[in-house]
């Protein structure tokens, strides 16, 4: 193992001329304060939620490589309409990577920090695409013995989002839910949570081949939006489950609105009287992702009792409070090899994360093509 006094960190910079620049910088590793530890990162996933910060909406078809094999640099053009929303980060190099796992290699003086030395921990908080990450001991989720960093790399974003969806469904009085891009790692976790907890779930996928993936892990209702019978299939599934809330990872296009249309149709199958204002049952779609970054379009043929909204993990966790969130985290750690297991297409180094051929693959946000970065691979 190399000297931990400094290490590489992936940086994303939006320059004031409208260029995105990705690079690797050598940053000094801080001395941990008494309550802090230094984690040597072993694995960090490239989630869709990371790519917003990483690529800043740049047009990846304009990406160009420069630099050296060890210190690659990627530049790409950001479409002018996206620039006003990026004013706050102009010319500031931003570290990237929401979550990851690794081994505690240094610890501050406090007993809580010292107790973590040598342990494999999962952590959340940004700047994870780096060889070393300084973090408070209290933020470390200790993984069960025998868990690798790769196995524990995705303990937070997807697992807590999936658990948050179920908790939100319950809190808002729905008895079943629907989910799009459902063959994703997150979607598969949701299938397993709903099976374990007895919650009816409607899975919406965009490709026919994803139907079998979900059926293979026990999903009952799987509808493919690529089928000509999609709206009927979806309405049938919503009627069978009674789902009146959906979580949508796609965002753009017509899918979110189609779900509201199908929910209304499902409810009206048992309606006694015509109401020109539609059913009185509230139908809700939460958009939590932007796999399609284009505009969202909907035709308002679903009455007046409906809502679209943004959904984000952090405010949800703040709302339920630290203790309730901690229980969720502990469930994740205990079930990290089963309910919350993730699969990855490929493991890459920090330098490979800046290779144009790899960006061309993981930048597509295709379901079933998730990359894992090992920030210490091919180094030290």
């Amino acid at each position: 193992m190399a000297d931990a006094d400094s290490g590489l960190q992936l940086r994303s910079t939006v320059k004031s001329d409208g260029t995105l620049e990705l690079s690797l910088a050598v940053v000094p590793t801080p001395d941990p304060k008494p309550e802090e530890v230094i984690v040597r990162m072993g694995a960090s996933p490239i989630n869709p939620s990371d790519q917003g910060l990483l690529f800043a909406g740049a047009d990846l078809s304009t990406a160009r490589a420069s630099g050296t094999p060890d210190r690659p640099v990627v530049t790409a053009r950001i479409p002018p309409p996206a620039l006003p929303g990026l004013a706050g980060r102009l010319d500031k190099p931003m570290p990237v990577g929401n979550e990851g796992a690794g081994v505690v290699v240094r610890a501050g003086a406090s007993p809580a920090a010292q107790a973590l030395l040598g342990k494999t921990v999962a952590i959340l908080g940004g700047s994870m695409y780096a060889q070393y990450r300084c973090i408070k001991a209290v933020q470390c989720l200790v993984l069960p013995p025998g868990t690798t960093a790769a196995e524990g790399a995705s303990c937070f974003v997807n697992p807590l989002t999936a658990l948050g969806m179920v908790a939100t469904m319950r809190a808002e009085g729905h008895r079943a839910l629907a989910h799009t891009a459902a063959a994703s790692n997150l979607g598969q976790m949701l299938v397993r949570i709903c099976l374990a907890d007895g919650i009816p779930l409607v899975n919406v996928v965009r490709k026919a081949e994803h139907v079998a993936v979900l059926q293979g892990i026990g999903a009952t209702h799987v509808c493919s939006s690529s089928e000509p019978t999609f709206m009927e299939d979806l309405t049938d599934a919503l009627a069978a489950t009674g789902a009146t809330v959906a979580f949508d990872a796609v965002g753009g296009g017509r899918l979110a609105g189609q779900i509201l249309v199908a929910m209304e149709a499902a409810i009206n199958r048992t309606a006694k009287d015509y109401s020109r204002y539609g059913s009185t049952t509230h139908k809700q779609v939460y958009i939590y992702g932007s796999l399609d970054r284009g505009p969202t379009e909907f035709t308002r043929t679903f009455g007046t009792a409906w809502g679209f909204g943004g959904w984000l993990l952090t405010p949800f966790l703040q709302k339920i409070g630290f203790e309730a969130a901690q229980k969720l985290r502990e469930r994740v750690a205990a079930e990290i090899k089963t309910t919350f297991a993730s699969t990855y297409t490929k493991e890459i180094s920090l330098a490979q994360a800046l290779a144009l051929d790899e960006i061309a693959v993981y930048g597509k946000l295709a379901t079933g093509a998730k990359y894992l970065i090992d920030p210490n691979r091919d180094l030290g």
Copy 2:
């Protein structure tokens, strides 16, 4: 005055072949039960919310006239995509007209009903485009002496909706609000309510000539979406007022989404740090009308703390309960000639409501072109 034993009633029928038929039917006037009264209707407005039931989404460019001058019949073609949503009303003649006012000409035996004989009352409940309407005495809002039926015809839909917007704004923790199609009768009421109650209001209009209308009644912030500087003007007004909730009467197109974009920009003017998830302030747009029946489109550049939703008067009134609603109704009656005064372009008879040249005008839902029906005009 003619015999009140029967009277004309306007009917809207969606036939199973996809044709809309509007006609006048002679219906018997029921004997009022002890708690009921018979109101001889003097005035009933054609609100946008009436036109959904009246026209059932028919293509008015296909409207054809038949029948006789006294008993006109209008037919029009309903676009096939609208038909599934109308299944519940196929071949059922629907009476139309949400609200109106008139004189109590017969009363049931109860003291409450008897006390209303000869009084001019405002009523809500459908079937108002008719010479006579039987209704419970408790549903009658007695108008102050000297108030005509025309003055009291719009006591419910617009006034209670405007008051409901302010109440919703307060209940959800916002301190200012925005409103679209703001030069409408409803919009002018909202301006007067907000002036009286000290609430900052952002008015959005679609035509430059409507700006002066609102400024003339004291509105401070008026933005026209037809100006090239609209987004800047809107952002300035939202920043000045702090409005984070909007009520949108337009529905279709890009306006609702533009409001969220401008709200986010207004909030970020005072933001200290860049957050890739946008501001944490919840921004809400309620769509309560469909002046544009086309699809709604929005580009998600307003962070993750946002919501779109339907808003409807009836569930709002149910939520606040009878007593709170009654207080709102009493305020309306007391201020019907001031805060809640309505203006109409034209007063027409039931037969004129089915004249193609009139439909061509009021069917446009143009702000500032509101019609009032006098169901007993040119009759008896």
